[in-house]
Point group: C2
């Protein structure tokens, strides 16, 4: 319980930091630039758990880096996440009208502005990572851009969403659903961990490999829990329409495994994630607490 209290306190601090930094990075509302900056801010600011940002901070902290060193990396991952939420919610995709407790971007601003806001959030993520801040070495900055771009593109998030759409409405194996989620949500979660390592300035290959393993297991535990919450939690708690997967006839961990087996598998992956942290000679308290949070969360 001590870890959880510590995590909650750190998380609340990270959340304020990342919101403050995002506020500065996002374009200001300009009268003649239509609704674009407003839509970008609407989706990105003032809501969201910032789980991916927390992962960047927690990873960096476990390596002894000061919080400020992770801000840019954390923001870049949250910008990519915000962009993906907008595009995933579009009528041509999952057609969700409700997100983070309010109307989805395309409901609030129209489809065209929503598509463009997603596009502009993606480029903003790479812009802030590439900007000369003197915070990281140029080589590490470039590696961060590359890792984040790969996690976003055809072999990552976009590829996973495409796979998701292609299996929607059909019977799918656990293997296919897992592959899809490794790309769709897992890739960005692993990227968050990798960016945390790079932001902290580490180049230890063994450490990187272990933390990547942690990120992969964490990503799966996160998604299994997400699927279960989508099918079993009320919309008010969830902040988005429940049963979205069912409405869209999506094969999920819940439909394939059921709640009990699904929860057991999530716990199994949390165990694997923690296992990967063993014998690393770093302070893994917060990363372990984050892993526990993933299966204990209510939304």
């Amino acid at each position: 319980m001590a870890e959880s209290a510590g995590l909650a306190e750190s998380w609340s601090h990270w959340l304020k930091r990342v919101d403050h930094c995002l506020e500065n990075f996002l374009p200001k509302k300009l009268s003649d630039q239509a609704a674009l900056p407003e839509a970008m801010r609407y989706v990105t600011l003032g809501s969201g758990k910032r789980f991916r940002a927390a992962l960047v901070y927690a990873t960096g902290h476990s390596l002894g880096a000061p919080t400020g060193q992770m801000d840019i990396a954390a923001c870049s991952v949250e910008l990519i996440h915000a962009f993906s939420l907008i595009h995933d919610d579009l009528p041509a995709m999952d057609d969700d009208d409700f997100r983070r407790g309010k109307a989805s971007c395309h409901v609030a601003f129209g489809e065209a502005t929503a598509i463009l806001a997603g596009d502009a959030l993606q480029s903003l993520a790479f812009e802030i990572l590439a900007d000369q801040q003197g915070m990281y070495t140029p080589e590490k900055q470039l590696l961060m851009v590359k890792i984040l771009a790969q996690a976003t593109g055809a072999i990552g998030m976009a590829g996973g969403q495409a796979l998701d759409l292609s299996i929607t409405g059909s019977e799918s194996s656990l293997e296919t659903v897992e592959k899809m989620h490794k790309m769709k949500t897992g890739a960005l979660i692993v990227a968050a961990v990798n960016l945390g390592v790079l932001a902290a300035g580490s180049t230890d290959a063994r450490l990187l490999a272990s933390l990547e393993c942690y990120g992969k297991s964490l990503g799966l535990a996160f998604q299994i829990t997400d699927d279960i919450l989508d099918g079993t939690t009320d919309a008010l708690t969830l902040g988005k329409m429940r049963d979205s997967d069912k409405r869209n006839h999506k094969p999920t961990y819940l439909t394939i495994l059921g709640e009990k087996q699904g929860k057991a598998l999530a716990r199994h992956h949390v165990g694997l994630a923690k296992q990967a942290l063993k014998d690393l000679y770093i302070d893994t308290t917060t990363l372990e607490a984050l892993a526990d949070f993933v299966t204990n969360r209510q939304h």
Copy 2:
């Protein structure tokens, strides 16, 4: 005329190079990854004038850099351009069913895949720029990522498209239309010139300023000509639906100025572009020929 023949020959060579490189950078078609890689390839390969790539190559050549040094930069700009075409053509945007002589991406692959293909092409552009190729210094690579990201986002292409949508269907001043086009198409054209300079390894501030000025004027001349061609050329020559602007009730240079005055303004900007190249002590032959091409082109 000698310059034009030279340009045509160089251009044809650049076109082959950039197509070959893009072919390698784009993800291969995988059976289980749905239509995403196929859609990305469909839009990016085998068609397109590669005007933006030509600008990168021509700029680099004017500074004495070997062709191979500009390949990555040229590809990154073309990937961003391809992504923008897909999203601009979507039903929620300009709703164009015909592009580069064939069905638009969303017509051929469906809206969801088209949105994702655009998203993945954007991240691919940053991925290849950030990848460790040893071709450019890390500092120059980072600057390329930043310049391209800015040209793509809220103060560039996405912002310009948002402004375009906001003025569609209304009376607009020449000033507003110009501002919109500076963002929507001009930003990427200027970025192409800047990336050419960086790829060639130059850091001469005066040169950079002059070439940026060249790019800005060229971008306006390009767009004015585009507006005129859209309203006056048949679809077969154009490779896309003509009168697209009119159908969408868009204020354009053609609607505001008419054909004659519009062409005169385009020629004026070409003159300004060439003026910016004066006294630069570099070989500007190809850049001048490119400027002439912009107003003489038929599609």
